[in-house]
Point group: C2
Chain length 139, copies 2
Amino acid sequence: MAIEIKTTWKGNMQFESTNPGGNLMIDAGSENDDIGSGYRPKALMLNSLAGCSGLDVVSLLKKMRAEVENIVLEVTADLTEEHPKYYKNVHVVYKFYGSSFKKDKIIKAVRLSEEKYCGVMEMFRQFAVVTTEIIYIEK
Amino acid sequence: MAIEIKTTWKGNMQFESTNPGGNLMIDAGSENDDIGSGYRPKALMLNSLAGCSGLDVVSLLKKMRAEVENIVLEVTADLTEEHPKYYKNVHVVYKFYGSSFKKDKIIKAVRLSEEKYCGVMEMFRQFAVVTTEIIYIEK
């Protein structure tokens, strides 16, 4: 399966990029004296990672009948100091909100995403040390 | 330097994710019977790649006084068939629009992004075969 995207310069430090879910603006941010606005490209990698794994977990918990009230994923990533700057260490915290958690199923869903389904996490493991953590927040 | 993002489930197959440039919606797409809308997470990796390298090239061409009228980056990426599905081959076409191109400087700018500045491309090279191509479109 092939995915294609097209990215067009809009002047200054701004680009418009296609995605199957709609177009998005990309921008270098104010440290580069641009006047436009848009998403920072390097952080988009982390949005991709969280979205990929989050969608896996929601889908798996539904199949396992282990739904929770809410899910928040927090991703923290360290960049190397030298060019080209890439992510060296990436930590993903899965926060589950609710009550009477089916913890065995939640752990299984997170593990299945990490190890089997999340292609973005598989890609991240090729350049970064990826660690994960589960936190339960009882309501 | 650390980058942090937070991604919150919004119900169905939709998440809202933070980015230094603003929040974005992420969604699994209609093949997964969702009713929401948002960007597809795996394609966001390609938006990240194109944005990162595109910004490098714009910035370098400005410094080199080799501006062009427009730039379009087309990224095509093949996914593996088996889970976890990751990008195996990635091809980036840099299309330059204008006239009287300073081709030596344009080639140099693309090479500098590829080899030195674009951290996202460096990450992609750890899991995919990345190839690039330059096309000039005279106006």
